[in-house]
Symmetry: C2
């Protein structure tokens, strides 16, 4: 099976689990539930739940409490897109070829649906938490601590803030701020996905830090590759216009490091992530299988042409 | 001491605790932290943390893990105000005589600050959770479950959604929807405050349900009194124009029930809340003192002229 196909199979499985945690309509707030479910069902690679489930198996987890955590992280990812697309932010009317949430339901409802999704993620985790036995409770508690921190102001929201502010000032962003945005806006939620999968499997603090480092490298490589493709990509393969960063006078990793160094860095980061993964991986067949999948996935996400 | 004075003393104490959990500036997202702290420091009665702390003592709690939970509920309350004030929602430029968050920091930053506050509430609770011993962990877990549910889509966000939708349609709201908004938008977070205080003190499920019922009655009475004051209030005492509901052709509790029945209901609900409180209260002096404070507070919030 090609990696795209493997991802599609796992994405479909993840969607089936996530679907169970979508809110059921109650009371008079029907449009809110509709807008939330519309946003989550609008598609996407389901990368974060896939990473979470894979790292969970990699670390020997038995799947207990995994599904609600997969749903929670996908809802947090979705809310961040819904709010990012708002007129006051990126003002995007289309995402993956479909009307964005505010385009479909209006701005007020998109704000509320985003709030609803973020809050609902913690409602799902809170319900799971109080149904746990003592050992599981510690694992789910770790998930709540990790996910809330990585999605929060020192994580994803912080990165989004600096990104929004940089776009509004118009002046060239410094290399330090650029690194900050890549790390916080993209890598943090991948880190959370991999760490939460490990935490639910009872991984040690040290193992969680290793998973974090791996995700960080993958996230950074993914972002740099994005910048490279904007310069060298094939518009047909990419499905979007190239050269947009230069046109918008946007400083990127390529601006600061040059195209050759950028390409080298993507390869290096991707290899380093795979190396760390090998060192972390147990020697049994199930873990090896997950490690192989993850390495293919990392290669697909980093050294790519689309 | 007058009740206003008692509230002010307790509010100052609550603010001191909340202040410790405000985010410290890190990285490059300085404006985000500023906007969040601005919103929380903008004032208010700190009613929810006060209710939480009081119910905690009422149920025999020793104050363990209380401060982070007080901070969390105030941050959730604050985020809801920040998002409510946005141009796409109520479009308010002033709150308590100060510029609203979007008026001071722009719309994008207000959306992010609101997201940041909601998320930060759960970061605070998540950090507290993993630092707990086993018994405390169960109590804090209950807090997370209660707070996320009452603040969420079947709670506060649901109420806000129906309120926003009703205002946009222009047609008169039904009595059922009006009840739904009062219950969800206002009462739910008061319920959470009182229940979480009890949960941290190790209250039983039954006791939590009683606290919930009390808060529900107080919240409803508070809302009805608001409607009454809009008809009969003294503009000077109230500090805002009266007759705005009639002017805006807004159906209220008074529209449906008439002014006399509405006044009766406020008294009845307030008395019922106090009755339930007496039945719940332990007989020791500390609990009695809290019960007395709560009864004064309920009277102040419901049968009031301002």
């Amino acid at each position: 099976m090609e990696i795209q196909e493997k991802i599609a199979v796992r994405a479909a499985a993840a969607e089936q689990e996530i679907e169970k945690f979508l809110p059921e309509q109650k009371g008079y707030a029907g449009t809110l539930y509709e807008a939330m479910n519309y946003s989550v069902r609008a598609g996407g690679k389901r990368l974060r739940p896939i990473l979470m489930a894979s790292c969970h198996r990699l670390m020997g987890g038995d799947g207990k409490h995994l599904a609600p955590c997969m749903a929670a992280i996908e809802m947090i990812h979705t809310y961040s897109l819904v709010h990012d697309d708002l007129p006051a932010m990126d003002n995007d009317m289309l995402r993956r070829g479909k009307p964005t949430t505010h385009a479909a339901y209006g701005e007020a409802m998109a704000i509320l649906a985003g709030d609803g999704l973020l809050n609902h993620a913690f409602t799902i985790l809170g319900k799971e938490l109080i149904s746990c036995d003592e050992i599981s409770m510690k694992h789910v508690a770790r998930v709540i601590a990790i996910l809330s921190e990585k999605a929060g102001i020192d994580g994803m929201i912080g990165g989004q803030t600096v990104d929004v502010e940089s776009e509004k000032t118009g002046s060239l962003i410094t290399k330090e701020k650029l690194d900050y945005i890549y790390e916080k806006k993209t890598a943090c939620l991948l880190e959370a996905a991999m760490m939460c999968g490990g935490a639910l499997a009872g991984a040690t603090e040290e193992q969680l830090m290793e998973l974090c480092r791996i995700a960080q490298k993958v996230g950074l490589a993914f972002q740099i590759q994005d910048d490279i493709l904007d310069v060298t990509g094939d518009q047909e393969v990419l499905g979007k216009p190239i050269g947009s960063d230069e046109k918008n006078e946007k400083a990127t990793y390529v601006t600061y490091e040059g195209i050759e160094k950028a390409k080298e860095d993507v390869s290096r980061l991707s290899e380093e992530a795979c190396g760390l993964l090998d060192r972390l991986c147990r020697k049994d067949a199930a873990a090896q299988e997950e490690a192989d999948f993850l390495k293919e996935l990392f290669a697909y996400l980093t050294v790519r042409d689309h």
